[in-house]
């Protein structure tokens, strides 16, 4: 077996050094009744060629966005990732290292995390950020739990255009963590008056910008209303690229930002692994979940980086930790950092403008279709269409023609007839004029 270096001779010599008759003898503490004597009835070892063939066969059964015009968003966006990103994250020193518990031999990871934390703080307009969470949805749940600790309250209000996966994840954590969720009805028109719901039992209000239907809003007034009532404002951002163009949560008075960072550096990957972004005001840092990297000096007086404020974390505080999170999304965060380093101020802002322009162009083309209207007033790179007939079969029909048209709202909010006609579409820099034509023509034909 190509991954196993021990030879038969090695094994015999090592057993002799140990003083054991056989490898089986080393398993003598396993109860007889539970020890497997022979091999399980499962396939045997394969060479690289066979494994490659088998998995390529499965991959070929999928329709990737690289071969079909794709306009899907709703929390996962297809952006162009510069070639240098994947090259660098595959460096064995990054790829095959553990959590940086020994800082003297982990400065590459630690410095990159410090740069990641700085980038996330800058683009969200917040003071501090952690070294990543699993994904946006779990970051959202952790943000609510952090707000509960900070306010010593146990009720969170979730906006109706929060991504349903984020709401459902937070509801699961709430059910078992013993706190209350007020989940508002889906709100494609972004008309819900959340400030009116905030009272002295509210720990936080969670909003998403742009919302899951695409609407962009200014939450400054809501932040002020939250603060007057002693509550916090949590802003969720599922499309990081929007932060290159849209007023950032920090400037709206957000207390905590929970986001999804997949858009930078990371593939669609059928939904994972992605990376959660988590930023907050500096005064809240001791209640933050997850790892934090801090700057310090070494014994020779040189700048260096370490994991810090570990007394918040499970390996020190155990049941009193701020979260049970341990492994996070280190390598995805590294990809994010390299991609954003390549973009820089100029590139990031231009990428955002480009996305916005693409979406505006797409929206203009699609509203020219009879019976189709755009619901979203102010948007970044994603908007909602009303089709005048159920969207899911339309999307299915377009998929049969090789066009991935978008996400029918019914996929995320099933069983709601009032949303059945809605189709959520995103456009990014990866879409071509031909893609848009294929979508527009396909839609025209399918809508008949």
């Amino acid at each position: 077996m190509r991954y196993l270096p021990l030879t038969g001779a090695d094994r015999s010599a090592m057993l002799a050094a140990i003083g054991a008759d056989s490898v089986a003898a080393l398993f003598r503490d396993v109860p007889r009744a539970a020890a497997l004597d022979g091999l399980l009835e499962l396939p045997r070892a394969m060479g690289e060629i066979e494994v490659e063939r088998a998995l390529e066969r499965l991959a070929a059964k999928n329709l990737p966005a690289s071969t079909a015009p794709s306009f899907l968003g709703c929390g996962v966006y297809r952006h162009h990732v510069p070639a240098a990103v994947d090259h660098l994250i595959q460096r064995g020193e990054f790829l095959t290292s553990y959590t940086p518990y020994q800082p003297e031999v982990s400065q590459g990871t630690l410095q990159s995390m410090f740069e990641f934390q700085t980038q996330v703080a800058l683009i969200t307009g917040m003071e501090v950020a952690n070294a990543s969470m699993y994904d946006g949805a779990t970051a959202c749940a952790e943000a609510v739990m952090m707000a509960n600790r900070l306010t010593r309250r146990r009720r969170a209000i979730l906006a109706g255009d929060l991504h349903p996966h984020y709401r459902e994840t937070t509801e699961t954590y709430a059910r078992f963590g013993g706190f209350e969720i007020v989940a508002r009805e889906p709100d494609p028109a972004a008309a819900d008056d959340l400030a009116a719901l905030v009272d002295d039992g509210t720990s936080c209000v969670v909003v998403q910008n742009p919302g899951c239907f695409g609407e962009v809003r200014d939450f400054s007034a809501l932040a002020a209303a939250c603060h007057r009532a002693g509550a916090l404002l949590v802003v969720v951002v599922t499309e990081t690229v929007s932060l290159g163009l849209v007023k950032p949560p920090g400037e709206m008075g957000a207390d905590i930002v929970a986001g999804e960072g997949q858009s930078l550096g990371n593939a669609l990957a059928f939904g994972g692994p992605h990376l959660g972004l988590f930023a907050a005001r500096e005064k809240f840092v001791r209640q933050m979940p997850g790892r934090l990297v801090g700057a310090t000096v070494d014994a020779a007086g040189r700048r260096g980086f370490v994991l810090t404020l570990a007394t918040r974390e499970q390996h020190i505080r155990r049941e009193k930790a701020t979260s049970n999170i341990c492994t996070n999304s280190g390598l995805c965060a590294l990809a994010f950092t390299i991609h954003l380093a390549l973009l820089g101020e100029v590139g990031f802002a231009r990428l955002a403008r480009l996305n916005h322009a693409q979406a505006v162009r797409l929206a203009d083309r699609l509203t020219a279709l009879p019976g189709v209207s755009v619901l979203t007033d102010r948007f970044f790179n994603e908007f909602t269409l009303r089709l005048g007939r159920p969207a899911a079969p339309v999307v299915e029909a377009l998929a049969q023609r090789g066009v991935l048209a978008g996400v029918p709202a019914s996929r995320l909010w099933p069983g709601r007839p009032e949303l059945a006609d809605l189709l959520i579409l995103a456009a990014t820099e990866t879409n071509t004029e031909e893609d848009m034509t294929a979508l527009a023509e396909g839609l025209r034909e399918v809508l008949g």
């Binding site: 091999l39 790829l95 003297e104 505006v360």
Partner: protein
Amino acid sequence: MSEWSKALSGFAPDAAAEQTLSGNYGLQLEDPLLFEQDAPGRTGVDLPEPAAADRLGALRREGAIGLPGLSEPQVVRHFMRASQKNYGIDMGLYPLGSCTMKHNPRLNEKLARLPGFADIHPLQPQSTVQGALELIDVLAGWLKALTGMPAIAMSPAAGAHGELCGMMCIAAALEARGEQRRRVLVPESAHGTNPATAATCGLGVDAIPANERGRIDLAALKAKLGPDVAAIMLTNPNTCGLFEDEILAIAEAVHAAGAYVYCDGANFNALIGRVRPGDLGIDAMHLNLHKTFSTPHGGGGPGSGPVVLAASLAGFAPLPWLVHDQSGFRLIEQAEGPPAQTIGRLKGNHGQMGMFVRALAYIMSHGADGLRQLSGDAVLNANYLLARLGDALTASYPGPCMHEVLFDDRFLRDTGVTTLDFAKALTDEGFHPMTMYFPLVVHGALLMEPTESESRASLDRFIEVVLGLVARAKTGDGAAFHAAPRFTPRRRLDETAAARKPVLRWRKAPAAAV
């Protein structure tokens, strides 16, 4: 103050450190932070400037973000230099106990990047992702067969997330039985995520002591069982590297008391192909694909933590569920009709697909025969370390051990050298140190897990160095240990200062007063 924290407070600057003019040391190259290399207007990505478009109005960002401008060669060099300040398994032995730092095959990386896996969207029509769903199903089948468990939840994102999933399933099952059980028994040797997970589920933690054999004290456990106990969270093999040889009696007692057995599967590498947790009375267990099944740790993730479940817990599994019928594979993303017992959703989308591809490639490469061989080799390697180092270091418990071996710091008594010093001296010798100060059940723990990826020659080199360091410590050369490491990209770092006055991001230095 923990033993580790105490050890770290011994930071002492070394004024006599040798310096080069550049700050570089041969192939160790320094580089300013990204933010210190900014030139306004510079970028490493060429994009067309789009035509003006505006559907944002007053919601546009005003003012600069503050991101630095670098070209591609600068960025490549920056991260290349950074990478060379890291130790990785690709370079050498990485014997971190309970972390299973095994070789990460590159075939897995290649396959995870196939467009058919990497470039598909989680919300595209399910008819267009049948191969992806089939892959998840095939992997799920392997994991169920290897653990002897009937059900599996694939979505948890890492080990601790899997623990949360398993404990929520248990809490939901108890709720469905109408029982109020709020106490979870956790062995003293448990990983910190176990008690933290119980707390996140709103459950209280009650520690159970180890016996003199480094295993759960069955009598103490029985004494703690009662109608308010929800579950025991144990690890098997445990974090002392020992198989819980009374596991069948433990499970029987826990079940008789109406509680569940959760097993932390971090150490499944020792058992794969040889013992099925389903035959040990375990009700729920997460698998760390980033340990046992070789998906790379990446400096701290991403991981993947599928949870296998007993039949009694299967109905509580989180959404989405994957089903297979005559029309193909289908995800159930919403609870359908009564009695929908699912705990609900635990994360966005369907799970860590990229990790599933890698883990399946790894499993198929080994097959049933290779998997059984690898657990045997992992256990053999650990026992070899125990046999060769047992006299010089102090083994905490007699062997045989499983895939990892625990030593404590009695061998350093009266030398003035601590476990931390010893670890730092190992880094100077070109090895990543073992896990230190964990588990907490012995003093100054040194927990070594060599994995099956090490050749005998590699272990022999490590053994020689460890024996040499022990001899050096015993000759009273404590100062050399306190000064270690000296040859790493950084010397010891002042962690106390880092925590006292946290600097968590780069900020432009204030302009000097004129």
